[in-house]
Structure formats: C-alpha cells, structure tokens
Symmetry: C2
Subunit: 161 residues, 2 copies
Amino acid sequence: MQISPIGVINTPFNDLKGMPIQPSGALEIEGTLVIHPEYEQGLRDLEGFSHIILLYQFHQSTGYDLMVTPFLDTQKRGLFSTRAPRRPNSIGLSIVELTGRDKNLVFVRGIDVLNNTPLIDIKPYVPKFDVRTVTATGWLEKAQKQAATQKSDDRFIEKQR
Amino acid sequence: MQISPIGVINTPFNDLKGMPIQPSGALEIEGTLVIHPEYEQGLRDLEGFSHIILLYQFHQSTGYDLMVTPFLDTQKRGLFSTRAPRRPNSIGLSIVELTGRDKNLVFVRGIDVLNNTPLIDIKPYVPKFDVRTVTATGWLEKAQKQAATQKSDDRFIEKQR
C-alpha cells in the first residue's frame, strides 16, 4: 500500500529535542494543517467538530527495534505497547483541538509533532466511537501523568541501520 | 511512503453488508489479530492494556470522492469530516478491547472490520493521550447514537473509477 501525504503540519517545533511527547503536554501549542488544494472540498463540515484525529508520518524516524525504552519508562517494552515513532509502519496519531479553517488551512491547538510533518489523514473525533472506559494501562499506569511535562530527546531520531 | 501489513485481522464479517459501522455497534464481536511471527517480540507488555488502537487498511475500498453521504446522514459531507473508508489514504482506525494474547495471536472484542483486513499498526490506548472533552461533533451531533445499531451496506465497496 502506497501512502501519499494530503498536506503538511506546521508547528513551532523544528527540533525533536524539547518537543512535548504527547498533545497533553502541548495543550496551548498552535499549529496549521496546510492541505494540498486539490483536497480542499473534502474539508467541508470539518469546522463543526471541536476535536479531530490526525494521522501523520514520523518523517524523522526510520527503522525500528521490537524492544524499546519509552520516554516514560526506564526499562525496555514491546514496541507495540508503546507510542514510539520508530515502527514497522511509522504512522503517528494525535487528537487535537480544531480552532478554525480558512480554505485549505486548518488551525489546530494542542499539537505535538515536528514542523513540516507529512499529514496522511484527518478524521472527526467522535466520543461514541473513540472514548472507551479503560480498566488497565499496563506499564503506563503510573507514568501517564508524567507525559504532560516530559519532553522529547533525540533517542528516536533517524538512525543508521 | 510504503506501508506493509504487520498481520491480518480475523473477524466473523466476510461481507460488508450487515457489518456494524463502528466498534460501538460490535461490542460483543470477537476477533483475532494474527501478527506476522517476526513481529511477535514487539507484542510484549501489550496484555497489560485493556484497550488498544488498531490502524488497518480498508482493503475493499479504492478511490474516493471528496463529498460523500455517510451511513449516519442523508446529505453529502466533506470526506474528512466523515469516517468513510474510501479516502486518499484508506487507513481505518478502531479502538478495541484486548482480551488476551497467545504468542503472535492477539484476541480482541468490539471489532468492526472485515475478515482478513490487513493490520498496519497496534498502539496502546491511553486515556491521558486519547480522551478529550469534546464540545462539538458537527453533523454527527444527532447521528452518533444511531451508530450502535446502523449496519453497513455496499456503498463503499470497491468501485470502478
């Protein structure tokens, strides 16, 4: 399956170091989705939603290891139990607040990705579909509160493999 | 960007007609993620989570229209304000309950996809990252309650374009 970006995400983060690791650590950060003009019509009705789901490419990450030490832990965990960017298919997922739209520009708040990240898809965030009553969050049980203050470092920057 | 499946999703749904359109309409439906054995190590620690996020390929859908009539509405809406499967990058997203794992087999409940759907990624579902206090759900405002009973039809089956 071949993926072609529908646009790019502009954010204030030009460097992985110091970037929030999750939207919960970037609630006030504003960004702009610059959608390729040929897709503009598909953005209609989007501004009715307060939150949207972004799928994007972790474009600075290549290769992967099946066991990784996540930002929020000190021991190695199975890759698929983490949100680490270096994955077999390096697609990221963030839920952000939608603040407005002007033609092919979509304005968002609470964005935690690098500037110029290739955007793959936008979906409406719908509580009935996307909110679950969770009973366990594994190794993240204690760590998830810390996600709001933890910043990124360079551990997931592109490596020679 | 080239995507290669990490496995397939087995479900009771061999036909789009009559399939639930969202996990909220398939809460009791059980399925199995059959992960390619070379990725098995990356599944460690996953069973600590009660819910996981699946990214998968809408493999029966090709092409797209920028304005679509969603299952839950009677008028055309901008594609990116819908969860319709025919998209520029036909990637689907579902949050499901994790019920167990045996080596490279991951057992899930509340699955709303076709049998043999190619699986692209698994991520842990973490309320701190993935739950937002939503204030507006646009055209879905009235319709989302209906999602639990609405079934699919053939409108998004592969079309010649």
